[in-house]
């Protein structure tokens, strides 16, 4: 189980929107996101569908193709499965101001990157060409 603090940046926002919660892997292999703030919501991400339990009640949504690489990367991160990352993405390691940056590239996917320092993974960045940029900081749920 990994605590996270998500920062969502968007050109329309003066300050980023912040969300916090926990990430874990369910027994059936689904990635579970238990968000605690700003609203309580549990999202279970399967291969093709994500189920949501929140204030609006349960819902099941199909996962668009464009989102699947992101979920694959997040699932591999939670599992610590580097092999899955190597199989799914072209990897490029570079220096970053606070340590290192591993860019995950897949044709048609959002720009993804894992940020870390030494042997510690610090954050996961999702940067679509257009829209909101998201950074999940791990181990920082408070």
């Amino acid at each position: 189980m990994i605590a996270y603090r998500e920062e969502i940046f968007h050109p329309g926002l003066l300050t980023p929107v912040i969300a916090t919660g926990l990430l874990r892997e369910a027994r059936n292999g689904w990635l579970v996101r238990e968000q605690t703030t700003p609203v309580v919501e549990t999202t279970r991400l399967g291969e093709t569908f994500l189920s949501v339990e929140g204030a609006a009640g349960p819902n099941l949504l199909p996962i668009p193709d464009s989102l699947r690489p992101t979920i694959t990367a997040m699932r591999a991160l939670v599992r610590g499965d580097t092999l899955a990352l190597r199989k799914a993405f072209a990897l490029e390691l570079s220096d970053a101001p606070e340590g290192w940056r591993l860019d995950l590239t897949q044709p048609g996917a959002d720009r993804l990157a894992i940020l870390g320092c030494g042997d510690v993974v610090r954050a996961f960045e999702i940067a679509p060409v257009e829209g909101a940029r998201r950074v999940l900081h791990f181990g920082d749920a408070g």
Partner: protein, 736 residues
């Protein structure tokens, strides 16, 4: 021997010719006439709809099977579209919808105020942290008018009370997984559709689950298959009984062949003649005409029942009977309905061919059959002509007075009705009975008329006249309306957006980006139905509108039509041009009633012509009138008994009565025009009647309503015909 060889050669030639050339067809227009709009509902978009329910209390198991079946159907050439659950729109589809959002759901003036836009921006901001926000929140932040959100809501609702679980649509009672499919746009093929439903049920059965397959074409194919199975069973049993009976009474294989060969030659000749005359053969002519052709087996039986010394006269009477019946059937060509014209030609040709073959084969050298003493059945009936006239008048007037009894044929078989009932508890099905259509010269005109109809349907929903409805016009406006967007220019919008961003504590500079998106949406090309046919999310909806009727037509799906009379009143008051409302069951009933009237009218003409022919050729007008009176009396009696036993008569029963008259004419000819050979005639008529009763009596117990009604009608009719023709008004004429 030469005659036999000739007959076999003729049969072989006819069979080869028929097999090579006969093209069966099954269009409804040939039965009801091309102008009857309700006849070809199977060839509409809704007619090609298919709903499959995989029934199991085990959700995982039923979902797995549903997904496997959907995957298999996706590659099936019979299927145009299939979905077992919601599909995620691709990035391309989302972008297309984003680009055309104002064309599909333009914002109203109330959506373009700073407060309304600020509220939407805040909603979009909150959505960023929710699961659905992963995909659409960035779009929502760029459309403070709410247009895109409304469009997605409109398209994503599965409707019909359907839920989803594990990516698969679920019945609202949680009993089944659901698959929605649409058959490919190709002519209705009973066999291919039947095979498809069997395949689907088979796939579910492999996992020990039950599949309910419901759709107009699937149900029609099921009924056809059930009828076919019942027909095979009935004809097999009847054939075996008849063969056993013939072997018993004829005792010689040669005599049995003599009876069957003319029938086979008559059938092949009839099929070939109809093919040559009409370029194809309607299945009704093949099936119904074939059954009526059973009369031909009587011809050799009549001859074999007569001693050699009087057979020459009997041969003449057989030809006279065949000619009389053929003229009656040929009258059907005047009804103006191709299928019935084909039945007329089929039966007339078949009977004449069979009669001629009988004459050719049955020389005086063929030994007569062992006489069965049916002459004992001759009886005395005082005032027979008067009684016959009363029966005829009563029966015929009651049949004409009562409405058609074809509702029994329209009713669904029990198993299908059970499946439909189960499916109704799983989801809200669109009405299959009430059909609301919108027609126009072009797709644009249909959409314009739908826009006029939209408030009427919305009001009906509010007033609970209907539970809901679905039509393309709910999503797509006509081009003229799309081009007439009364929206502010970019500069005005940017000013409103800037204020909205300030109100929402967001970045006012972002207003310029919103303005660019707004301008792009205003300038997007107009959307036409073909555009929506390219998108997975709208394909099913767009397919509802297509060529047909007066140019273009769409049938509006109606849900929970509990108050059809009120619905009709609302529509009448609105009087939107091109909109028509049809009760398909009532329409079919009235089609059948009109068909019945037309067939009766031409049969009456045929009867007059046939008995005129009989009087002319036999040169015995008084006896011909007596035969006609006996036939009419027996017909009236049969009709009365049928009315009491089964209710008003349907078209197929009336058609079966023609066969009864044909049989009666033969009995009458032999018993009335047979001269001194009345005992021989009674024996031959009795023998023929037992043969007919064996064949049609079995049919009367068939599970298929059409076959059962024909079987019962002919069985009762034959008994009445034999009874009345064996009766004689004068006591002295009954042999002791």
């Amino acid at each position: 021997m030469t005659r036999w060889l000739l007959a076999w050669a003729l049969l072989a030639g006819l069979v080869v010719g028929a097999v090579l050339t006969v093209e069966p067809r099954s269009d409804a227009a040939s039965i009801f006439g091309a102008e009857r709009s309700g006849a070809d509902l199977l060839d509409t978009v809704e007619g090609r709809g298919l709903t499959i329910a995989i029934v199991s209390p085990d959700r995982a198991a039923r979902n797995q099977v549903a997904l496997e079946i959907a995957e298999a159907l996706r590659n099936d050439p019979m299927i145009a579209d299939v979905a077992a659950g919601p599909a995620a729109p691709s990035a391309e589809v989302l972008d297309w919808l984003w680009q055309h959002r104002f064309r599909l759901t333009p914002p109203g003036a109330e959506d373009l105020t700073p407060d309304a836009m600020a509220a939407r921006l805040l909603d979009a901001q909150a959505a960023l942290t929710r699961a659905e926000g992963l995909v659409i929140a960035p779009y929502l932040l760029r459309d403070p008018t709410g247009s895109f959100q409304r469009l997605l809501s409109k398209l994503s609702s599965p409707g019909q009370g359907v839920q989803q679980s594990g990516g698969v649509w679920q019945a609202r009672d949680g009993s089944a997984a659901l698959i929605f499919a649409r058959l490919a746009d190709r002519p209705y093929d009973i066999a291919a559709t039947g095979d498809l439903t069997v395949r689907i049920r088979g796939m579910a059965a492999q996992s020990d689950l039950r599949a309910i397959v419901i759709g107009p074409r699937a149900v029609a194919a099921d009924i056809s298959r059930q009828t076919e199975r019942a027909a095979v069973w009935a004809s097999g049993l009847a054939g075996a009984l008849l063969l056993g009976w013939l072997c018993l009474v004829l005792r010689r294989p040669q005599a049995v062949l003599v009876c069957l060969l003319p029938l086979a030659i008559g059938f092949a000749a009839a099929a070939l003649t109809v093919q040559l005359a009409f370029s194809s053969v309607h299945v009704l002519a093949l099936g119904f005409g074939g059954a009526l052709m059973g009369l031909a087996i009587d011809y050799p039986l009549h001859l074999l029942s007569h001693p050699r010394e009087v057979r020459q006269r009997a041969r003449r009477l057989v030809l006279l009977g065949a000619g009389t019946t053929a003229i009656a059937f040929l009258s059907l060509t005047g009804a103006g309905l191709p299928a019935f014209a084909e039945i007329g030609v089929f039966v007339a040709t078949g009977l004449l061919s069979a009669a001629l073959t009988t004459r050719l084969l049955l020389s005086d050298t063929v030994a007569p059959v062992r006489p069965l003493r049916f002459e004992r059945l001759l009886w005395h009936l005082p005032y027979k002509p008067l009684l016959a006239a009363i029966l005829a008048g009563l029966g015929i007037s009651l049949v004409v007075t009562f409405e058609t009894g074809d509702d029994r044929l329209v009713a669904l078989p029990g198993a299908v009705e059970d499946d439909l009932h189960a499916l109704r508890s799983m989801l809200t099905l669109p009405s299959g009975r009430y059909r609301l259509t919108v027609e126009g010269a072009s797709a644009e005109e249909v959409l314009q008329r739908q826009r006029a109809l939209l408030p009427v349907l919305d009001q009906m929903r509010v007033d609970e006249v209907i539970g809901g409805f679905q039509m393309l016009g709910q999503v797509l406006a006509p081009v003229s309306q799309q081009q007439d967007l009364a929206l502010p220019d970019r500069g005005t919008f940017v000013a409103i957006a800037e204020q909205a961003l300030r109100n929402a504590d967001m970045a006012p500079d972002f207003a310029e980006a919103l303005g660019a998106d707004y301008l792009a949406a205003i300038q997007a090309p107009v959307v036409v139905p073909d555009d929506l046919r390219q998108l997975g999310v709208t394909r099913g909806l767009a397919a509802r509108l297509g060529p047909g009727g007066a140019g273009w037509i769409e049938a509006v799906a109606l849900y929970d039509t509990a108050l059809p009379d009120k619905l009709a009143n609302y529509l009448a008051e609105a009087s939107v041009p091109g909109v028509s409302f049809l009760d398909t069951r009532q329409s079919l009933s009235s089609d059948l009633a009109e068909l019945k009237a037309r067939v009766l009218q031409w049969l009456a003409i045929g009867a007059v012509l046939a008995f005129g022919f009989l009087a002319l050729v036999s040169a015995r007008p008084r006896d011909s009138i007596a035969i006609a009176l006996s036939c009419a009396g027996a017909l009236g009696l049969t009709m009365l008994v049928l009315l009491i036993a089964t209710g008003p008569l349907g078209v197929f029963q009336i058609m079966a009565l023609i066969l009864v008259v044909g049989i009666g004419v033969d009995y009458g000819i032999f018993l009335t025009l047979g001269g001194e050979e009345r005992v021989d005639a009674a024996r031959s008529c009795g023998l023929c009647a037992v043969s007919t009763l064996l064949a049609f009596g079995v049919m009367a117990f068939s599970s298929a309503p059409v076959l059962a009604e024909i079987g019962l009608t002919v069985s009762l009719g034959v008994i009445a015909m034999l009874g009345l023709h064996l009766a004689h008004p004068r006591l002295g004429s009954v042999p002791r």
